[in-house]
């Protein structure tokens, strides 16, 4: 098959067991329109390739700094600093790093190339009902590429799942509703003001898309990231319950407890983390949210 669109990805994870049915290979697309305060993969946000420095692997030997042809790197004793304006993403730093602590995040692939890499776990899909999950970043932000990739998977009987925040055009949402075998999407907040504050985007289009998917009998999985102090007050939880009860009674909702695993990546990108003091929710807090949502006719998955 001739491929036209190229997609930009930043990671492929095999034996992913939380991203849809069975054993899955999850493809992370690069670039996202939203900027959630708690985002656990900040390297996924920019649509451009970028340099990432990993603190834990770095021996502070300074070889990358000396190698950089554009003088974009400096070592301030503890950290390697990347000056994005000067960096041309040439990868010279990575080629000399002894610990692979510095590297390029973001790689361009055709749908066919992606399929070849992403389908290597086929023997395990057969036994588990698994397949490929396209996540992000925002999977729907590269719709042409995504369409071709999903068509390719369907032509080879590979099960596909999409993880999306639904901040996308209706045409893209309609496309996945036809071509993907399983859809999971996030709802982050119901109040438009709050949503904008937490994610920097409006949720009007997101909720319309959600309603569209919920009403199509596709049995999508709705996920709600529970972030203490951000979106866990009773009014928000009730609003979410009402929305689901109205648009998709009986639909499945998974509460994703906020976690801090991605905090280190902010340092790797030379950025500050927006929620330095937010704790991960306690079991009691998760149970409380589940209890409130449990009043509505929805199926809560723990």
């Amino acid at each position: 098959m001739k491929s036209s669109a190229r997609g930009r990805i930043f990671k492929i994870a095999r034996y992913a067991i939380h991203d849809g049915p069975g054993i899955r290979t999850t493809v992370f697309m690069k670039g996202c329109p939203a900027r959630c305060l708690w985002c656990c993969s900040p390297e996924s946000q920019s649509f451009e390739a970028q340099i990432v420095w990993k603190e834990g692997l770095c021996s502070r030997c300074g070889r990358c700094v000396r190698q950089c042809p554009n003088g974009a790197l400096s070592l301030d004793g503890r950290s390697v600093i990347v000056e994005a304006r000067r960096c041309t993403i040439c990868g010279e730093c990575s080629s000399v790093c002894p610990g692979n602590a510095i590297g390029i995040c973001g790689q361009d692939v055709t749908p066919l190339e992606l399929l070849e890499t992403a389908s290597r776990d086929l023997p395990f899909w057969r036994r588990s009902g698994g397949g490929v999950t396209v996540s992000g970043g925002e999977a729907l932000a590269q719709p042409l590429f995504l369409r071709e990739f999903l068509e390719l998977c369907r032509s080879r009987s590979i099960h596909t799942a999409i993880e999306t925040c639904l901040c996308a055009d209706r045409s893209a949402v309609a496309m996945i509703s036809e071509l993907a075998d399983f859809i999971q999407f996030d709802i982050k907040a119901m109040s438009p003001v709050l949503h904008r504050r937490l994610t920097s985007v409006d949720n009007g289009r997101i909720l319309q898309n959600a309603s569209f998917l919920l009403k199509q009998n596709l049995a999508p999985l709705v996920r709600f990231p529970l972030v203490p102090g951000c979106n866990d007050d009773e009014g928000e939880l009730n609003a979410l319950g009402e929305f689901l009860a109205e648009n998709g009674p009986g639909s499945a909702l998974e509460i994703l407890p906020y976690h801090r695993l991605g905090v280190g990546m902010y340092g790797a990108l030379g950025r500050e983390y927006a929620l330095p003091d937010t704790p991960v929710p306690s079991k009691a807090e998760i149970d409380r949210a589940a209890a409130i949502l449990g009043r509505y006719p929805i199926n809560i998955i723990s």
Partner: protein
């Protein structure tokens, strides 16, 4: 994991028994050696086999007989709870060398009491000096074998320093016939002999020896019955009194008579297990398929109301504790290659029956439960999982045990095991009854003789020899073949040819050595073991002499699989394909262990690696291991075709200390990879890609087994979904034709290590919904959070296998 609240009542006894094992320090136990030596002094002039059998009878008559508190299953090979037994006739001198250091050596220490030391110096040493198998071997070892051994390319002494082992006796036949039944068989066979026919005299002598053994077995059990009666009179505890009376009644019946109940079957089994270990100190006397041969007794007891499932579980648990008591005594060097007093008594659950149908029964689950209850290092628990026939509930029970982090069970793909047996020349009908032995070897109860792991070949040395024209870097001496200066290798094919020449040379030398050991072992008959081999009685020929139904050539074991593959892959990729590093540059870098040449080290580390589902590396797994199997199978011994295997026990670490830096990027003197596992920290794509790579090895041709170790992050099995997907992963493993895997759960300690040595833990993945990352790439604070959340793996249970 903290199930104490819900623990069944029988666990009180089990916990007390377990405590006793933990509290007892291993001791050298010379009682058996003393009785053996005294008996040999009395029987001079008689046939060797007669002397061995009479010595066994004396041991049974005279040895210490003790029953400890709380025991339901009784028996002990020596005089001490955790004794290391010396086989004086095989290898007395091993202890001689270590009299002063046996309790201070780095691996597997033993206490040696002054009175035992005196017995050794005054009785055992004077008699056996110059008479042991080990001394014969040292006198006969050829120069080229010694050169490989002394330059770290070969470990071959282990079979000369202890007994046979590596065998599955005919336990089922023994239990079902009882000693009386065996005696009838022996007498019937004897009646067919005619002393005027050449050869019949030897047969008569042999069968008479078996009758001494039979007498010994019955005598031993009777003495336990007497002891139980004595204790039952002495005790004031009414409950214990009844237990002791039951034990006495059981010991009065078995093993003399065929077992009639589950308790009798277990006790009969254990008396025989004790007896063969008493006869010869050795690793891997494998009980095998206990869920099959004990099941008829269990089913019958249940039906007749003689036992409850809980009572049967308690008996099994008690037996499990007994398995953990004895400690393999081996020399310092062998202990380094296989540490942890490794008895390797391999018990198996699952698989198929003789009609090829599902053989899983209630006992299969109870056997797994016994290991979950006791969490000790013995028995070595294996499962035969037959994807087509065994139920999902059985696979689930397996995964539940894996979750506990004891390293058990060793998971075996049944179909591959069956094919391995067939490749040893055993017909399918019987191959269906195979059992895992020792570490991951394949065996057949009461029918098969061979040394499954005679010698270990260091594949790291093989690479080194190919790059140094046969020289050993550490010693500077020539030990391998002359294959030329690699700078003159114009093409990759030239390099590959050198690697294959070195392999061919090493294998040839090992085969020669194996034949010598076979010859020496003709002086090592084992009548106690042979009595449960039906054909040994029919042929009136000892196990050691080829009396078993099937005999096969010894096993030659490869260590450093991934090091070989990755080194060849690196040379191809860097020197011949991309030309990123020249051969002289590479040789210089290896000579100085990459010091001062970080670019070469980086290039080597980044060359395609086995374990990542990268065909550029994996194709060499296919090519080289088919070649090695061809070479090894190309030779035969007087017993049959030579057999290859890949199981390191802990030999990858000492072998590593013999090998300098390798093109794979492995630094000098560091451990080699274990089994068929990728080098530590070099597989970066998760468990499924490891399995894809490992599948390139032709497992079914490595008939002595292939061993795969994998790490399991605790959160991967924390949820129901995680359990389901691990089950699916194991089915995937079966689909790919891989033979074995065992999982080590990554506990808190390992995570702290990973923080300190990230280069060795590059492959450790952390997963939560919607997020996957490598542990070593996370920030320090986040790492600390995860460490704090991770459970400390419970109990001291450690698997020393691999």
């Amino acid at each position: 994991m903290n199930a104490t609240a819900a623990e069944p009542a029988y666990m009180e006894r089990i916990n007390r028994l377990k405590e006793k094992v933990f509290e007892t320090y291993p001791e050298i136990d010379l009682e058996d050696a003393k009785i053996l030596t005294e008996s040999f002094l009395d029987t001079q002039g008689e046939a060797l086999i007669t002397r061995k059998a009479k010595a066994f009878l004396e041991q049974c008559r005279k040895k210490t007989v003790k029953i400890w508190d709380d025991e339901l299953v009784v028996g002990n090979s020596g005089s001490k709870i955790r004794g290391g037994i010396l086989s004086a006739d095989v290898c007395w001198s091993v202890l001689d060398r270590e009299l002063d250091t046996i309790n201070t050596r780095p691996y597997d220490k033993f206490h040696l009491r002054p009175e035992d030391r005196r017995t050794f110096e005054e009785l055992i040493r004077p008699y056996w000096k110059g008479r042991s198998n080990y001394e014969e071997w040292l006198a006969r070892i050829p120069e080229d074998v010694a050169a490989l051994r002394d330059n770290g390319a070969l470990y071959i002494d282990k079979k000369a320093v202890r007994g046979w082992g590596e065998v599955t006796a005919g336990y089922e036949w023994f239990i079902n016939n009882g000693v009386e039944g065996l005696v009838r068989r022996i007498e019937r066979r004897k009646a067919l002999l005619d002393a005027t026919v050449p050869g019949d005299y030897e047969k008569e002598v042999y069968l008479d020896a078996l009758l001494f053994v039979a007498e010994g077995l019955v005598t031993l059990a009777e003495r336990y019955a007497i002891e139980a009666e004595r204790l039952s009179v002495a005790t004031g505890d009414r409950k214990r009194k009844k237990e002791l009376e039951d034990i006495a009644a059981i010991c009065r019946r078995v093993p003399a008579k065929p077992a009639t109940t589950f308790r009798e079957a277990v006790q009969s089994f254990y008396f025989y297990q004790v007896a063969i270990f008493l006869e010869q100190n050795a690793a891997a006397y494998n009980p095998g398929r206990m869920d099959q041969y004990l099941y008829p007794f269990y089913r019958d007891d249940l039906k007749k109301g003689r036992i409850t499932p809980e009572a049967a579980q308690e008996v099994l648990d008690c037996l499990w504790i007994k398995f953990s008591e004895p400690c393999l005594f081996q020399d310092e060097k062998s202990a380094e290659y296989s540490s942890g007093y490794p008895m390797f008594q391999n018990v198996c659950a699952g698989g198929v029956d003789e009609a090829g149908q599902d053989a899983v029964n209630e006992l299969s689950y109870m056997i797994i439960q016994a290991t979950m209850d006791t969490r000790l290092y013995q028995p070595s628990l294996s499962v035969r999982y037959n994807m087509a026939k065994n139920p999902n509930s059985f696979l689930r029970k397996i995964v539940e045990l894996m979750k506990l982090g004891t390293g058990f069970p060793a998971f075996h793909n049944d179909e591959v095991g069956i094919r391995m047996l067939m490749n040893k020349g055993i017909p399918l009908k019987e191959a269906l009854n195979w059992n895992p032995g020792g570490c991951v070897e394949t065996n057949l109860a009461g029918k098969l003789r061979h040394y499954s792991a005679l010698a270990d070949i260091n594949l790291g040395s093989v690479v080194e020899y190919a790059l140094l024209d046969g020289m050993c870097r550490k010693s500077g001496k020539r030990a391998g073949a002359k294959t030329g200066n690699p700078v003159d290798f114009k093409t990759f094919d030239d390099f590959m040819a050198a690697v294959k020449s070195q392999l061919r040379y090493v294998i040839r030398v090992v085969v020669k050595a194996s034949h010598i050991i076979d010859e020496i072992c003709m002086n090592r008959p084992v009548p106690v073991l042979s009595i449960s081999f039906e054909e040994c009685i029919e042929n009136a020929l000892d196990y050691a002499h080829g009396g078993a139904k099937y005999n096969s050539g010894n096993g030659i074991i490869c260590i450093g699989v991934s090091d070989l593959i990755n080194s060849v892959s690196a040379v191809k990729h860097l020197v011949y394909d991309t030309k990123r590093v020249s051969m002289p540059q590479l040789l210089d870098a290896l000579a100085c262990d990459f010091e001062g040449v970080p670019d070469v080290l980086k290039a080597c580390a980044e060359a395609p690696k086995y374990g990542n589902d990268d065909p550029r590396a994996d194709k060499f797994a296919a090519e080289l291991f088919a070649f090695i199997a061809d070479e090894i199978e190309g030779y035969s011994s007087k017993f049959g075709r030579m057999t290859p295997g890949i199981l390191p026990v802990s030999g990858n670490t000492p072998f590593g200390t013999e090998v300098g830096a390798l093109p794979s990027g492995r630094r000098a003197w560091k451990p080699l990879a274990d089994g068929v596992s990728p080098n530590s920290g070099t597989d970066l794509n998760g468990p499924s890609s490891v399995l894809k790579s490992v599948a390139y090895i032709p497992h079914d041709r490595f008939v002595q087994g292939t061993l795969l170790n994998m790490k399991l992050a605790p959160e991967m099995v924390a949820s129901e979904n995680g359990i389901q997907q691990l089950m699916a992963l194991l089915k995937g493993l079966c689909t790919l034709g891989i033979y074995h895997v065992q999982f080590n759960v990554v506990d808190q300690k390992k995570l702290i290590e990973a923080q300190e040595r990230p280069e060795e833990y590059k492959n450790l993945l952390v997963r939560v919904a919607g997020y996957t990352a490598f542990f070593v790439e996370l920030g320090r604070d986040v790492q600390n959070d995860i460490i704090a959340r991770t459970i400390q793996t419970e109990s001291g249970a450690q698997v020393s296998c691999g």
